[in-house]
Symmetry: C2
Subunit: 254 residues, 2 copies
């Protein structure tokens, strides 16, 4: 979702906001091959103890000033804020930002990933958990953004990015979709989707799932290098990405 | 859903079948104004003790030979079969029928509501719970079907039909939809929907929600008359409908 969303487009934001108010809510994801999926809003509000082990491990590697890209309802940012970190959450959804504020996140900004600029200051950790590595969207767009992130981060900064290996599936509809993507010159896991909730619907946007190999390729020439992978359940993994000459922070892996 | 569904159209059936196999499943309902809703498949498998009180009361009024129209995953039919009733379940979804068979329902047939005929034999109770009064679809179609049901039922038969009063809402999108329906000459609660699950999608079909007044009007000239309403939660109610000269069965209202 590359642009700031208007209210009618703010499907996820309305879902977050309704769920936060205690109303029934649900996330519907439509893929451009007509595949419809459902998402449970509770996941976006899960507390640290309910996160997958890989996410808990990854968050324990955070240090310094943090940029949480696509902060959603703020589950990672709020946890880090509690731990004393200086966190800036950004999202392109007005009601996601509003929900984060209502939940007590102090620095959250309405900002699409493409509008990230040096005005935000310098960061030591860039957080893209919850599959948010996918926000890079494409090889070209991703490389452009990675180079931009390189310029607004400290020399020993890390990007902590979560995705899943799209090839690690036996679901016929997904395998068929990968072929469809290859035929039209896209990465197999470059899904084109839009989110729906009630009558709210986002514009179509690209969300990128990559294998470890594909990620290594994507990072080439960007000034970043994957140093370590934290494997999650099934196809899920989290990449610890450092600057080409830097090292990823170690730390208490619990 | 007036016709027998082909496999690619059998969204609910695939949902039932997957859920029964223990897989994640979900129901997505798309209305023709672009409103998307979510349904929890667990509701279709709920056991008697988890049903709403109105449904438990209504089911206790069943007697004789039963036709369960739109039997779905079989929750009502299976309960009645256990209680010793002679039940025929019908549905236009091949995988709903298959799921009912797997769950042990002895007489379940792949049959759209429009294909109900005297070949099924004579019934004492026609069950349309779980909003299935809506399967009548429209005033004209409903009256046609009601007259047909009149001919294949005993003189003291009852239709037990559940719906909800669509006017009993404050949801702006629904109120707007009622106006949209009135402008195009439809009953406010005559929703045009299709069900989606993964890449499965039913054809568009009409599903009818009526107030008690609208129901009384619909029944005119059909040989049927609403004798009693069992109020459920919020806008939900269940009508006990008898033949014009008959009475609805009383019985243990628990």
């Amino acid at each position: 979702m590359q642009n700031m969303l208007r209210d009618r487009q703010d499907a996820q934001g309305h879902m977050f906001h309704d769920y936060f108010k205690g109303e029934e809510a649900y996330e519907i994801v439509e893929r451009d091959d007509g595949y419809f999926d459902y998402g449970n809003p509770a996941l976006y509000f899960a507390q640290y103890n309910d996160w997958a082990e890989a996410e808990r491990k990854a968050v324990n590697r955070v240090r310094g000033r943090v940029l949480d890209i696509g902060c959603g309802a703020g589950r990672h940012s709020l946890y880090l804020q509690e731990q004393g970190f200086d966190v800036v959450g950004i999202d392109n959804s007005p009601l996601a930002v509003e929900t984060c504020k209502l939940r007590g996140l102090r620095d959250v900004r309405l900002l699409p990933i493409n509008d990230i600029s040096p005005e935000l200051g310098v960061f030591d950790t860039v957080l893209m958990l919850g599959n948010n590595f996918g926000l890079f969207g494409s090889i070209d767009g991703g490389r452009r953004l990675l180079r931009r992130l390189e310029r607004i981060t400290s020399s020993d900064a890390a990007i902590i990015g979560e995705t899943l290996d799209p090839h690690n599936t036996v679901v016929p509809e997904h395998l068929e979709y990968h072929k469809f993507n290859k035929r039209r010159g896209r990465l197999p896991g470059q899904v084109r989707i839009r989110v729906r909730y009630k009558k709210y619907v986002t514009p179509w946007f690209d969300y990128l799932f990559v294998s470890k190999e594909e990620m290594l390729d994507l990072l080439k020439g960007t000034g970043w290098r994957a140093k370590e992978f934290i494997d999650g359940e099934g196809p899920i993994y989290i990449a610890m990405i450092a600057k080409s000459n830097g090292e990823v922070p170690g730390g208490p892996v619990t």
